[in-house]
Amino acid sequence: MAKVKPARWGKIVDLNKCVGCHACSVACVAENKIKHGKHRTRIVEHEEGTFPNVYRYTEKWSCNHCQNAPCVDACPTEASHYTEWGTVEVKPELCIGCGYCVLACPYRVRMMNDRRDGGLPEKCTLCIHRLEKGEKPACETTCIAGAIITGNLDDPHSEINEWMAKGAVERRPDLLTHPNVFIIPYRR
């Protein structure tokens, strides 16, 4: 397996393809051995429009790996840090488990583990341990609709940049967090 060099990696979720089957949540739990009741990624259901023109769609919701991350700014011990993959991770040896990053995250994607399970904040790592080996993240490999793509945002010829051209947008751009994870918004 070819060793992949670190670069600014990102993810795009196409909400037009997402069917809300929760397979990504379950695959993530299985891959990362997450404790019962906790999730790194989950499905959020949106209901929009006014009666009778209403519609609903689902969205995969997980860490956006912001380049200007509120959780990294909030962390008192620099345990939350930027990695060379463009992601945000927690150093277990520095974390005190104060929960400030969980509250500081404007997307509310972090979740505290219980004390008996280590007490670390649980968050998406973009499956760096798989990316290093040249594999895709667990959520992407299991997605039945092909709604998720992970790739190198710096490489102009990568497939993720083709998806970017299809109209991918940041979540909550008003927060100025500049995420590396994008969505293609739902269109009726």
Partner: protein, 314 residues
């Protein structure tokens, strides 16, 4: 939904005890710098300042999900984190406050006394403001990310600190009797009776009444400031029109601010006979302290109650 509340009542206890220490330290330090305050009030304020925040620090460590790693926050500092600044102030404040209290107790009158009085004033202000700023720095929370929360907590800190001095003035002499049994007599200065008489309590209640009026003004300004924001309905739903609104309006505003203010004004206008003085000297400070604690409780829980609603808002 058990993960909804990341922070629980221990954080409310910490915010409250930090406020008690802050208010008490500011009163004591100002009294020492200006040198025209009642000597008993100054001494009581200085003696009481270090202890509530120590209890708060225990609560803060107990709230951590990895409590045995708490020392790492004292080793690794991160300049952009409000909590990191607070950890530094909370490390330094109890040390300075204990040294200053010892200086005052033994009537030390050297050059360092002025320095420590100023340090106590600055650190008292710092931990008083930090308590609210910790919440105000979370900028996507519609309830917490309001500078008036920090100001409200600070004003409430001074108010509850003064009430702690009133209660301490009623109990200090028994505590000092215990201290004198532990420490040999030749190391101790002459006995100073710090039991506050009614005139001293009356002056403290007068100051407290003014601060309570300021606090009521801050609360009304806070509500208007919520209303003016696009997230106003969500923020008001946390503890003003919904959620914890009963605790807020009844315990905090009615019995924690309005009733003590009424009692204070009646006391200053001499409406109490000598036999009913117990109402102002016990009931008034206890009501303010309960109200101050419930204010922290309501804000800490209310802020987390509304939090996920805004997250799903696009």
């Amino acid at each position: 939904m058990e993960h909804l509340f990341t922070w629980n009542y221990l954080i409310a206890i910490y915010l409250f005890t930090a406020g008690l220490s802050s208010g008490s330290a500011i009163v004591g330090a100002i009294g020492d710098i200006l040198e025209n305050m009642d000597d008993r009030i100054k001494r009581l304020a200085t003696y009481l300042a270090p202890f509530p925040v120590m209890l708060g620090l225990v609560a803060l460590v107990a709230d951590l999900h990895r409590p045995w790693y708490f020392y790492k926050v004292l080793i690794n500092y991160h300049i952009t984190s409000v909590m990191s600044w607070g950890a530094f102030f909370l490390l330094v404040f109890p040390i300075i406050a204990v040294i200053f209290a010892v200086m005052v107790y033994f009537n030390y009158k050297g050059i360092l006394r002025k320095l420590f009085a100023w340090l106590e004033l600055v650190l008292g202000l710092a931990i008083g403001i930090y308590a609210g700023l910790l919440l105000a720095a979370i900028y996507n929370n519609p309830v917490w990310s309001n500078p008036l929360i920090a100001f409200l907590f600070f004003v409430s800190a001074i108010s509850t600190g003064i009430c702690m001095i009133i209660l301490g003035g009623k109990l200090w002499d028994q505590v000092e009797g215990l201290i004198r049994k532990i420490i040999p007599g030749r190391f101790l200065p002459e006995v100073r009776l710090l039991n506050l008489d009614h005139q001293a309590i009356r002056s403290l209640i007068g100051v407290d009444a003014v601060i309570i009026i300021v606090e009521l003004m801050v609360i009304s300004t806070l509500i208007i400031s919520y209303m003016l924001r696009p997230t106003g309905d969500v923020a008001l739903g946390a503890f003003i029109t919904g959620g914890y609104y009963l605790s807020f309006w009844i315990v905090v505003v009615l019995s924690g601010l309005c009733l003590p203010l009424l009692l204070g004004i009646m006391e200053l206008r001499d409406r109490f006979t000598h036999r009913t003085n117990v109402i102002v000297s016990w009931v008034e400070p206890v009501l303010v302290i309960i109200g101050g604690f419930m204010l922290r409780w309501v804000v800490v829980y209310g802020g987390q109650l509304v939090y996920p609603i805004l997250t799903y808002y696009k």
